[in-house]
Amino acid sequence: MDDVSCPDLISDLPQSIIESILTRLPIRDAVRTSILSSKWRYKWATITQLVFDEKCVDLSNDRREFEDSLVKFITRALFLHQGPIHKFQLTTTYFQCCPDIDQWLLFLSRNDIKELVLELGEGEWFRVPSCLFNCRKLTRLELFRCELDPPPSFTGFLCLKSLNLHQVLVSPEAIESLISSCPLLESLALSYFDSLALTIRAPNLKYLCLEGEFKDICLENTPLLVAMSVAMYMTDDIAEHFEQSSGCNFNRFLGGVPRLERLIGHIYFTKYLSVGDDPGRLPITYNYLKVVELYQVSFEDMKEILVVLRLITNTPNLKELQISGSSNTLAAIDAPDLDFWDEKCPTDCTLKQLKVVKMTDMSGVPHEMEFIKFLLANSPALETMSISPCVYIMDGRINMLIELLRFRRASAQAEILFIQD
């Protein structure tokens, strides 16, 4: 079948291109290319990225059988592989810990592994063997549902740039020391830890993503942080802890990030920041901060409002602001401290760059309206202010609109969009 008129189109392309093609195929198809022709027999065996998931093997009703065939597939693939393996990814929902994973990790640790992603199923969490800590060249590590216990002799991953631990059982001291012993760490994501109290020292950290119940977070040494996304859940213990704590959370969290460009906070983030003594004047100005998104801000809590204002007034170059409210309308109707807006509100903060504002889940409570009024009055470059009322509010919408109409606008081009669902 190999006539001169129909020459082989693809087998003689450089190996780098073949690898580029094979790594874009699901691993099963890539391995299958070994029976295409004699030239293709081992082309797949030198690819440096191995990505395994549940589509590698035929589905089966018997879970035991399915797991066995997946284990066999991966073991054989590793056994037949030649050369370094730079990326290994295993994503499953069924698979739990099993002794074969230890052997795979040992094999990988001897083959210059650089990126390791292990996402295992629910159930008994996999206890990561110590050979993982011998992977000197690791640049990216992602673990889902594992147990991590660094040995005392572990001195850190010197090349690690990205660390993502999701539902990982590890002691707080171990995490802290892991973070601080990875000098090149740029991206850190920690999710679903229980009541974690953490001090983060990562001089090269640029991206931080936290989600879970955090008792206490202190960004002690993160001068290069560029983007941060935090979702804080609250339990009763943590709430109590908050009430008793005295350190200023705002400063401890946001006091050392002058280069921040993007800040996203969910759920109890503003509440968390509001805890603690009054910080007074902020030590730094967020000159690079352009986008701020704060969700579930409770406008009935004066302290949370103060947090938001404090943040905004120290962000001279803010471009985009998005705030979603979560007010309990009944409680907020009384609205004590409403005179704050007339008397104590800072008047010298002009948001010269603010262009887009999005207010969602608005209930129309007094403090929310005053805040909107404040924004409109202090943003001469505003282009769009969109307001979406909370779905539960039906009657109060007209009142909201009436109030909105009255507000003075510093920007002549500002459009106010009232978005009904």
Binding site: M1, D2, C6, P7, D8, L9, I10, S11, L13, P14, S16, I17, S20, I21, L22, R24, L25, P26, D29, V31, R32, T33, S34, I35, L36, S37, S38, K39, W40, R41, K72, T75, R76, F79, L80
Partner: protein, 362 residues
């Protein structure tokens, strides 16, 4: 409107051009910003100053034919404009990549030689999409691949037959035992050789002495010694292939005796009663008797002598008790395995191979 027209209408907007030459010899000029989007061309211009005129046209790699070049330049022309949104770029890419497979492969090759990574990624993705989910026959059809694997090779499962951990363990153990055996044999062969060497040197000495002295008795003895030796050698060779180990074991015990270059008469009674041993013994004692000049020192100190005693006794015991059984086994194993089985425990009983397996497997 061609570039030339544009240049005439708005002379202040005249662009600069780069001259490119493809492998077939044809030369064309391309707007500078478009051409510079290719790292290879960029390198040529900046590092080597090429491409500024027709005479100094940059020669493109062989894989870039004019058709491919024009495609690549279209790609560059679109993407080098900075203001485009991601969406625009994506939709351009999708449309751009629609071509037959042959051109796609050529394009990949050409883009790779110009080091234009975004285009290589795009085309690789397209090729991967073509390959994904198809049967091998379909893939061969599309890419004109020769179907040159034998049926066996195709059917050969992608599993390695030794990947059963128990079999691997067994193989490892066997390999280890075989290696040990080989080493021991080597040692014994060396020792056996040395022993023979020793004999010869004594013979030589004897004949020398006899030759000098003309002692008939000596000659006789030496002859008989030679005969004995021959007999012993013969026996050695016949049993060598089958019972090397046994013989070596004997020699081992005796060798320490020989090395001391004389024989202690006291050892004699403790040596075992096989015929081979007797022969060797006879030879040695014959020599000893001949010499008998007291120059030969008894260099075996008592401790070593005791050790030797014990070794020899041990060997003798083992040999005597297991000899028939062992002979049987050894004969049945054949040439390859020269008395494979070590006793697995200290007391010298031999276990069969199946027994061995049973101990390993769960």
């Amino acid at each position: 409107m061609s570039e030339v027209d544009m240049a005439v209408i708005k002379p202040e907007m005249m662009k600069s051009y780069i001259w490119l030459q493809t492998a077939d010899g044809s030369i064309q000029q391309v707007e500078q910003e478009v051409a510079m989007f290719c790292p290879m061309i960029c390198h040529e211009v900046i590092q080597k100053g090429m491409g500024s005129s027709k005479n100094y046209a940059i020669s493109l790699p062989q894989r870039v034919n004019p058709a491919m070049l024009s495609l690549i330049l279209d790609y560059c022309r679109f993407h080098q404009v900075p203001g485009r949104s991601n969406k625009e770029r994506k939709s351009f890419d999708e449309k751009f990549i629609r071509m037959d497979t042959k051109r796609l492969c050529e394009l990949t090759s050409a883009a790779d030689s110009l080091q234009l990574k975004p285009l290589v990624d795009l085309t690789s993705r397209a090729l991967a999409r073509i390959i994904e989910g198809k049967t091998p026959e379909e893939i061969r059809e599309i890419f004109h691949l020769p179907d040159d694997l034998t049926e066996e090779e195709k059917l050969e499962p992608l599993k390695n037959t030794t990947d059963d951990p128990r079999i691997r363990l067994l193989n490892r153990l066997y390999a280890k035992k075989r290696k040990e055996l080989k080493e021991r044999e080597k040692l014994k062969n060396v020792e056996a050789e040395e022993e023979r060497v020793d004999d010869r040197s004594v013979d030589d000495l004897l004949s020398f002495i006899n030759g000098d002295n003309g002692d008939s008795k000596g000659i006789k003895t030496s002859k008989s010694k030679k005969k004995n030796r021959r007999r012993k050698d013969q026996q050695k060779s016949t049993s060598a292939n089958e019972a090397n180990k046994n013989h070596s074991e004997e020699s081992n015990g005796l060798n320490s005796v020989c090395h001391s270059s004389e024989v202690d008469q006291k050892i004699q009674p403790s040596i075992g009663a096989t015929s081979n041993l007797q022969d060797v013994e006879d030879d040695i004692f014959a020599n000893k008797n001949e010499f008998d000049d007291g120059d030969i020192d008894d260099e075996i100190d008592p401790a070593l002598k005791e050790k030797i005693d014990r070794e020899v006794e041990d060997f003798a015991r083992r040999l005597n008790s297991d000899w028939p059984e062992r002979m049987q086994e050894i004969l049945s194993l054949g040439q390859e395995r020269k008395a494979v089985h070590f006793p697995l425990n200290g007391n010298g009983s031999i276990r069969s191979r199946d027994d061995f397996k049973v101990r390993i497997l769960p």
